[in-house]
Symmetry: C2
Subunit: 287 residues, 2 copies
Amino acid sequence: MSEPLTPDSSGGLVRVRIDLGYDGTNFSGWALQPSHRTVQGVLEEALGVLFGATDRLATTCAGRTDAGVHARGQVVHVDIAEAPWARHELRAARRLAGLLPADVVVHDVRRAPLGFEARFSALWRRYSYTVHDGLGRWDPLLRNHVLRHRVAAGAALDVEAMNEASRQLIGEHDFTAFCRQRLGAGTIRTLLALSWVRDDDELVRADVLADAFCHSMVRSLVGALLEVGDRRQPPSWPADILGQRAGTATRAIDFRVAPAKGLVLEEVHYPHALAEQATRARRFRSL
Amino acid sequence: MSEPLTPDSSGGLVRVRIDLGYDGTNFSGWALQPSHRTVQGVLEEALGVLFGATDRLATTCAGRTDAGVHARGQVVHVDIAEAPWARHELRAARRLAGLLPADVVVHDVRRAPLGFEARFSALWRRYSYTVHDGLGRWDPLLRNHVLRHRVAAGAALDVEAMNEASRQLIGEHDFTAFCRQRLGAGTIRTLLALSWVRDDDELVRADVLADAFCHSMVRSLVGALLEVGDRRQPPSWPADILGQRAGTATRAIDFRVAPAKGLVLEEVHYPHALAEQATRARRFRSL
């Protein structure tokens, strides 16, 4: 992607970090697509209006979410010409929010530290996935954000078994078995944390943290772990798939990729030096 | 509204109780309106299809919710001819759900006990109202169901003061000051419970229970209590409004009716004899 900017090579551009969230229900995912409503599409349009750009202001995000996937803590960078940035810097978040639809929330817009790159600087990403496994009434206000999972034989999900299975997946592995194939994309990832908690009587939530994720990885992991939660597979089964699959590409995977709507990009973490507000750069400018 | 049915006067009709929930975001409220999407409209259309009715199947609900107001526990009755009801009785909930859009959830469809009337049999209704008063990030997944309230001077809502104010409103009163005027509609109501809890760091929820509510009553009470929570008015102020207003209709009310989206009809309660499933009626039929 784009190279980190240095003051000398910036050509009068400011790298800007945008923190935002969105309800993914009515978006065809993050990535720009002609004649589809995407988060990147509405964001770049709003940036173009705010900063009066004649060319596309190309954004790069930390986690490319699929259609129907939500974000509470997406991070984006974009390079803006010095003069329009200076005009809007102090009220950029508010003005950008005013140009965006209600299903996108702007948390913060600020000059990024030197060397910041939303995608490649990230140390880890954290996602959540929420499942409703109750027999009680379904809450219509959850329908776009929570998977309604009807458990086998009316028993609730076995969260302890799901956690036992999850622990066996942690670490650096070839996650081919849990990735949708993309030509040229690597599948070796470090899963840093994966655990399940019962949030209330009928809601079970996964927290998943990795250096990076390949395509559909969280939803595939959740799909396999629901098989364990439903007692259709033993806790060792997801790790078995992982081991068997590495190096082979033919074995049929007999679990479903969990639906998009339960998935939320919660947080992206950067090295301390890159996460700081770019106070030094700003101080330098005002000399 | 409609009279309770007795076996002799039913003319071959079965009174059916429908329990349902809905996300009110994309509805112009409960009540049927020409060329507007309303909950009653989509429900009556689905009932007509399911039961093959040529005339309108008129429904009556327990709580007529305004545009943007949600329900987790709405209760409705409708009278259906014996023959089509008998064809669908065993799978009525599932079949009705299949004919309704995703923002309406069917909890239950069953033959009502003799004398059941969704609106007039109800002993009390319970609503919730949820407010976000945090300075932290706004969650895009809450935007249609929670009021984002920016508190004065950055302080959180004073939940204790709101509870103190709420306690003074409990009991039978003329709630004119908290009702939108409707010709011919009474304004004397018994407020059975009204209390606030902080659900998590940034979410505060009211639970409001009354025998019945006049138009906009919960949203008006919430609006006045937010003035107390913001320390703009003392805890005695909402009760003062109540007292001053009874009998007069001219005093300007200096608080805002809280927006619809934070409001949810949670539950409607009926006398025990009317809440039971109509097993006796069914047993009688099968003789």
